[in-house]
């Protein structure tokens, strides 16, 4: 079991390293596109770069807020705590906890799969697993960014509908 966990951990680390490289390659590729376009359309390319700069300046303060919120959540939330509260006979409480932990969980979904599998093997309802994954679309640290782009009303409406949809999905998964 421990060996399996270690193998998974190193697999996740290898994937993270690969994705970091991929992110840098992506940025370099976009920079190259800019350089290429600058030859043919220097004025338009410069205008595009100015648009980029303006958007970036608007996004940076929101990202700083995101860092603070992520740190606060990370300090108080540990995966082991989630395991403790998501038992077999959790009932309505289980749904509420799965939804809440889905929303407050962060990091790559890959990192959560082993824990979800472990909980599923221990008898956690499939519906709760589905509800947990569905609610990962609502991320507390990124709420300021969502409100910045779409407004507070949008955030409230979409969040409520998504919570309802996660329960419907969970119930349907158990019946199909």
């Amino acid at each position: 079991m421990t060996m399996k966990k270690e193998a998974w951990k190193s697999d996740v680390q290898a994937k993270q390293k690969k994705s970091t490289k991929g992110r840098i390659y992506f940025l370099l590729a976009v920079v190259m596109v800019y350089m290429f376009l600058a030859f043919f359309e220097p004025q338009k390319t410069l205008r595009a770069f100015i648009v980029f700069g303006k958007i970036l300046l608007q996004v940076i303060p929101v990202l700083i807020f995101v860092i603070v919120l992520m740190a606060v959540l990370d300090y108080f939330l540990k995966p082991q705590k989630i395991k403790k509260y998501l038992g077999e006979e959790s009932g309505i409480k289980g749904w509420i906890i799965a939804i809440a932990f889905g929303i407050i969980s962060h990091g790559s979904v890959y990192a959560w799969f082993p824990l979800l599998k472990e909980l599923k093997d221990q008898g956690m309802r499939e519906g709760l697993v589905a509800a947990f994954i569905y609610n990962r679309a609502i991320k507390i640290p990124f709420i300021p960014l969502m409100i910045y782009y779409f407004g507070f009303k949008f955030f409230v409406v979409v969040t409520l509908y998504m919570i309802v949809a996660s329960v419907i999905e969970g119930l349907l998964i158990e019946r199909i």
């Binding site: 599998k117 990962r136 949809a165 998964i173």
Partner: protein, 153 residues
């Protein structure tokens, strides 16, 4: 259990806060190349892609726009923060809210790229059912959200 002095405990508490801040800063710095790349692409998108072309693809038809947005979100994957930025910029460029909402939801709830891992760990049947249901529900949630917002004014 070993007793710790209040000073030592306080020091550990402070260290933990420093560690979590460092970790979250590293996480955001880690996604910065993607955010910068995406924003650079949007700069090009805004200048080089004429609005009438966007309006030809996203016609304002709720069903068609929601489907296209949902498919786009299912094909891409990654941190939710990227979907908010891409979705927000698409909206500013004239893409309908139906398409953008479906895009935001399917970005995280459906993972074509992560499907093999999900199927291998949580089971193939579970992964298929979850992804199919997520797409149908994303479609309904997107339409319900926009209709509700229109009703609220």
């Amino acid at each position: 259990m070993k007793n710790q002095s209040p000073n030592k405990m306080q020091k550990e508490q402070n260290k933990s806060w420093a560690q979590v801040f460092l970790k979250s800063t590293k996480t955001v710095i880690g996604v910065l190349p993607i955010i910068a790349g995406v924003l650079l692409l949007f700069g090009l998108f805004r200048v080089f892609v004429p609005t009438h072309l966007i309006k030809q693809v996203f016609t304002g038809n709720p069903i068609k726009d929601t489907l296209i947005g949902g498919i786009m979100g299912s094909l891409f994957a990654g941190n939710a923060v990227n979907s908010y930025i891409i979705g927000g910029e698409l909206l500013r460029s004239g893409v309908t809210l139906y398409a953008v909402t479906a895009f935001l939801i399917t970005w995280v709830t459906i993972g074509v790229i992560q499907f093999p891992a999900e199927a291998a760990i949580l089971g193939k049947s579970f992964a298929i059912k979850r992804n199919v249901l997520s797409f149908v529900l994303a479609f309904l949630v997107a339409i319900a959200t926009v209709v509700t917002l229109n009703m609220l004014g």
